[in-house]
C-alpha cells in the first residue's frame, strides 16, 4: 500500500498543473481521495465567493485519471477521450475532496465516475463521468 501511495503521490507531484491548483493525495488502503485545499486563486465568482467550476472539473478529472492509473497498475496517466461534468451546488471557499470509481476497464476504453464534495460527503458539489484510453491501447497505438 505504501508503494501505491508513493507511486501515485510521486506521479501527481510531477504534474505542474496539479501543483498549480494545490492537489494533495490521501490514500487509505486502496481508497484514494484527492484534496484541493482552498486558495484565493481558485475562485471563479468573487462575490459569493465561489470556486471556479473549471477548477472543480479539473479536480474531478485528475481524480478519475489517478484512480484509473492505480487500477491499471501504471504510473502513466491515461488520455482523456471525453468528460461530462454536472454542477450541483456552488463550491464554497473551503477545501474540496474528490473520489473516483472505475466503472469498467475495457480492452481499449475505460469508463470512470467521480464525485466532489466539501463539508458533507453526501452532498456532492459536482460529479463527473468520463471515458479514457486504456494504457494498453495507448501503448499499442
Amino acid at each position: 500500500m505504501t508503494t501505491t501511495h508513493e507511486r501515485v503521490a510521486a506521479a501527481l507531484a510531477r504534474i505542474p498543473y496539479a501543483r498549480f491548483i494545490g492537489l494533495r493525495v490521501d490514500l487509505k488502503g486502496d481508497e484514494l481521495t484527492l484534496v484541493m485545499p482552498f486558495g484565493d486563486h481558485l475562485v471563479g465568482n468573487p462575490m459569493l465567493p465561489a470556486l471556479h467550476g473549471g477548477v472543480v472539473g479539473a479536480l474531478l478529472e485528475m481524480t478519475a485519471l489517478t484512480q484509473l492509473a492505480i487500477a491499471s497498475k501504471t504510473e502513466t496517466f491515461p488520455k482523456t477521450i471525453d468528460i461530462g461534468i454536472d454542477y450541483l451546488r456552488s463550491g464554497r471557499p473551503v477545501d474540496t475532496f474528490a473520489r473516483a470509481r472505475v466503472v469498467k476497464i475495457g480492452r481499449r476504453i475505460a469508463n470512470v465516475q467521480a464525485e466532489a464534495w466539501q463539508g458533507e460527503r453526501g452532498q456532492p458539489i459536482a460529479t463527473l463521468h468520463g471515458h479514457f484510453l486504456t494504457p494498453e491501447e495507448e501503448r499499442g497505438a
Binding site: I15, P16, Y17, D40, L42, P49, H52, G54, G84, D86
Partner: protein, 165 residues
C-alpha cells in the same frame, strides 16, 4: 507563432454587455491566475486565448497543457458567450459541460477558443465552444454546455461565507 495579443474588437456588443464581460474576466481570480483573456466579442459569440505556461503542464513527458486548464477556459468562455447573447447582462452558472478531446494541444503554443451561445432561453442558455491553435477546423477540444440564467438572483454578496443551516 500564434498571433501575439490580437487587438480586442467588440463589434455588435453594447457597452453595457461589453463592460460586464470585461469586468467578469478582470475580477475572476482563477481566470487571472491562468492568464486567460477575451480577445473579441460579438452578440452571443466570444473569442479568447489561454497562454501556454510551464506551470500549467498536465503531461510532463510530452509537455502538453493540462485538460483542467481547457476545462476552465472553455467553461469561462462559454459562460461569457451566454452573457454576450443577453440584452441585459446577468449572472450565469454552469449546469453541465461536456468536453470531447480530439487530440493533445501542441506543446509551447497558446490555445485559442471561440464560444457561441446558440440558444438563450429565460432560464437556460445553451453554448458550444471549440479550442484550437490555428483554426477551428483542426480542433483540440469541443465543449457543449448549459447555463442557468440569472443564477445569483436573490443571493447576496458573501452568501457562500455563511454556514448552511
Amino acid at each position: 507563432m500564434s498571433e501575439a495579443n490580437p487587438p480586442a474588437s467588440y463589434a455588435a456588443a453594447t457597452d453595457d454587455v461589453l463592460q460586464r464581460i470585461l469586468s467578469m474576466f478582470q475580477f475572476t481570480p482563477q481566470a487571472r491566475a491562468l492568464g486567460i483573456e477575451v480577445t473579441r466579442v460579438e452578440k452571443g459569440r466570444v473569442w479568447g486565448k489561454a497562454p501556454y505556461r510551464e506551470e500549467l503542464i498536465g503531461d510532463p513527458e510530452h509537455r502538453v497543457i493540462a485538460g483542467g486548464v481547457l476545462t476552465t477556459f472553455l467553461d469561462q468562455l462559454s459562460g461569457t458567450a451566454a452573457i454576450a447573447a443577453m440584452e441585459t447582462p446577468t449572472t450565469v452558472a454552469t449546469i453541465d459541460i461536456r468536453i470531447d478531446y480530439m487530440r493533445p494541444a501542441e506543446p509551447g503554443r497558446d490555445v485559442l477558443a471561440e464560444a457561441h451561445c446558440y440558444k438563450l432561453g429565460k432560464s437556460v442558455a445553451f453554448v458550444r465552444a471549440v479550442a484550437y491553435e490555428d483554426s477551428p477546423d483542426n480542433p483540440i477540444a469541443h465543449a457543449s454546455s448549459a447555463f442557468m440564467v440569472n443564477s445569483s438572483g436573490g443571493r447576496k454578496f458573501g452568501a457562500n461565507l455563511r454556514k448552511k443551516s
